[in-house]
C-alpha cells in the first residue's frame, strides 16, 4: 500500500472470552492516510471486532496499534475521540433528539464534563449537517427519519467530531441503491477533503466501487491487503467467500459476479 499509514496494526490477536477461540489472529496491517480502505470479508470474519479494536473499545490480547507514529494506548480517550470518528452499524436514538441536537453530540470530545455546546459548536454541527445534505431536516427528530437519512445524520455526527480517521461499520448494509449511492458519493468527497476512511463491508462490489485499498479477512486472518486492482481478484475472493467468483473489468472499476 502506498502513502504514509494513518494507522498501523502489528501482530494483533484478539479473543472475546477463551483464548482457544481467537477472533483475530496475528494481524499486520497498514491503513494509508487520505484514502478509502475497505475491510472486506464474509459475516463473522472479525471485521467489526477489528474496527472496535482500532477505536479502543476492545483491548487486544497481544500486538499493538499505532495512530500515526504514536501507540494507541498512549492517547487519552479524549485525544482518541478527536482522531477517530465512528459510524456504527446501527444507531439507536431512544429519545426524540432533533437532527441538529444529535449532531451536536459530536462536539463532546471538545467539551469538558460540565460544559455545554456553544455557538462555535453549533456552527460546526450545522456545517456537518449541510455537508451530508440534511439541512432541511435539521429540526426533525432523528427517530422520524428514513433509514438513509438516519445514516446520513450518524455520518454528520461523526463529522462534527472533526476526526482525521472515519471508521464506518457496514455503512450501507440497510440502505437501498439511491441511499447507498449518496453515502458513497459523500465518502469520496470526504477523501478528497483529506479524511482517512476505513469501512467494513461484506459486499465486494461496494468495495470495488468506492475503495482505493482493500483488506480481505476470513476467519480472523488477513488473506490479502493492498490496492483494489491487485487484491480484488477472483482467486482471492473465491478463497475469502468460499464460492466461485468472477471479476469483470467495467469502466474504471471491477464487477464481482457469483453464480
Amino acid at each position: 500500500m502506498s502513502g504514509k499509514p494513518a494507522l498501523t496494526i502489528k501482530n494483533l490477536s484478539f479473543s472475546y472470552a477463551s483464548p482457544a477461540r481467537m477472533v483475530l489472529h496475528d494481524i499486520w496491517l497498514e491503513i494509508p492516510s487520505r484514502a478509502i480502505t475497505a475491510l472486506l470479508g464474509p459475516n463473522g470474519s472479525g471485521k467489526s471486532t477489528l474496527i472496535y479494536l482500532m477505536l479502543g473499545l476492545l483491548a487486544p490480547q497481544s500486538g499493538e496499534i499505532l495512530l500515526g507514529d504514536r501507540l494507541h494506548s498512549c492517547h487519552t480517550r479524549q485525544e482518541l475521540s478527536r482522531l477517530l470518528g465512528l459510524v456504527p452499524q446501527e444507531e439507536h436514538v431512544t429519545f426524540e433528539l432533533s437532527v441538529l441536537e444529535y449532531v451536536l453530540l459530536g462536539r463532546a470530545p471538545y467539551l469538558n464534563l460540565l460544559e455545554l455546546p456553544g455557538e462555535s459548536d453549533r456552527r460546526i454541527a450545522l456545517q456537518a449537517v449541510s455537508t451530508v445534505g440534511l439541512t432541511g431536516l435539521q429540526d426533525r427528530p432523528v427517530s422520524s427519519l428514513s433509514g438513509g437519512e438516519r445514516q446520513l445524520a450518524v455520518l454528520a455526527r461523526a463529522l462534527a467530531q472533526e476526526p482525521e480517521i472515519l471508521l464506518l461499520d457496514e455503512p450501507t448494509s440497510h440502505l437501498d441503491l439511491g441511499n447507498t449511492r449518496r453515502i458513497l458519493h459523500l465518502l469520496r468527497l470526504l477523501r478528497e477533503g483529506g479524511k482517512t476512511i476505513l469501512l467494513t463491508t461484506h459486499d465486494p462490489n461496494l468495495a470495488a466501487a468506492v475503495a482505493d485499498n482493500v483488506i480481505l479477512l476470513r476467519e480472523g486472518r488477513v488473506l490479502a491487503a493492498g490496492p483494489i486492482c491487485s487484491c480484488l481478484t477472483a482467486e482471492n475472493l473465491t478463497v475469502t467467500y468460499d464460492v466461485e467468483v468472477e471479476v469483470i473489468p467495467w469502466r474504471s472499476h471491477s464487477l464481482v459476479i457469483t453464480y
Partner: protein, 341 residues
Amino acid sequence: MSIETLPAQARRAAAGRRLWWLAGFVLLTLAISLLLGRYPGPHFTSPAFLAESGLAQSLVLNLRLPRIIAAFILGMVLAAAGAVFQMIFRNPLVDSGFLGVSQGAAFGASLGIVMLGGKAATIQICAALFAFAGLACSHFLAQRFCFGDGVLRLVLAGIAVSALYTSGTGVLKYLADPLKQLPDITFWLLGGLWGITWPDLLQILPVVVPGLMIIYLMRWRLNLLSMREETAFSLGVAAGRERLVLLVAAVASTAAVVAKAGQVAWVGLIMPHVARRLVGSDAQRMLPGAMLLGGFFALLCDNVARTLLSGEIPLGILTSFVGAVIFLGIVSRQRRREVKR
C-alpha cells in the same frame, strides 16, 4: 403547539421562554401554598388574618413553610432522578424504583419499624442505607455478569436486587405486630410529609443540594449517555465512570428525601415525559423542566393532601392517582401522533 414542530432557533427560544414561565408559575404556587391549610378555617388563610395573628404567622413559618419547601425539593429530586435513570438506561419507562433503590428504602424502613424500635430517625437512616445498598449490590452484581452491555447487566442486576428486597419486606410485614407495626409500615409505604420540620429539612439539604447540582451541571452529558456504548465511547465519554457519578448523585438525593417522605411514586416516571413535551428531549432543557415540573407537581399534591380533608391524605396515593392519569394521557396522545404519522 408541540415543541417538536418548531424550527431550531424558534424551538430553543420557545423552550427557554417556557422554562422561565414555568419557574415564575412555580414561585407563584409556592407563595399561594403558604396561604393554604386548615387554620383558622378549612382550605385558606387570608393574608389579612395572617398579618394580624401571631399564631398564624408562627404556624406558617414553622410548619407550612418547611413542608412546602420539602414538597418542592421532593418533587425536584424524584423528577431529576427519574430523568437520569431514563436517560442512562435508555428506557423511558424507568425511574428511581430501578436498581433496588426504592425497594431498598422500603425494606430499610420496614426493618427499622419491626426490628429496631421504630423511631423516626432509625427508620430514616435504615431507609437511606438500604437504598444505597440496593445501588451498590446492583452495581457489584452487574460487574460479575459476563454478558450483554453495561446497561443490560445493571438492569438485570437491579431486577434481581429489587425482587430480593421485596421478598425481605414481605417477611418483615409477616413478622410485624399487626396492630402497631404493620400500620406503621403501610403508612410509610404510602408516603407523606406530615412530620417535616426545619431540622428535617436541614438534614436533607447537605445531600440533596450537591446531588442536584451535579445532575444539573452534567445534564448535557445525559444525552451522550443515552447513546449506545460504542457511540458514547467513540465520543470520548467515560460512560462507566460518568454513569456512576450521576447514579450516586441521583440515588443519594432520592434516599435522603425518601427516608423522610416515604414512598412517593410516579413523579420520577411522569415528569420527564411531560418536560419532553413542553421543552423538547434535549436534556440540556428537559432536565431543568422536569425538576421544576416535579417540584410543582409534588407541591400541588401535598397541598391537596394536607388541605382537602380534616385528616391527612397520604401523598403517595395522590401522586400515584394523578400520575397514572397523566401517564394514560401521554400514552394515548403518543399513539394518536404515531397513527397520524
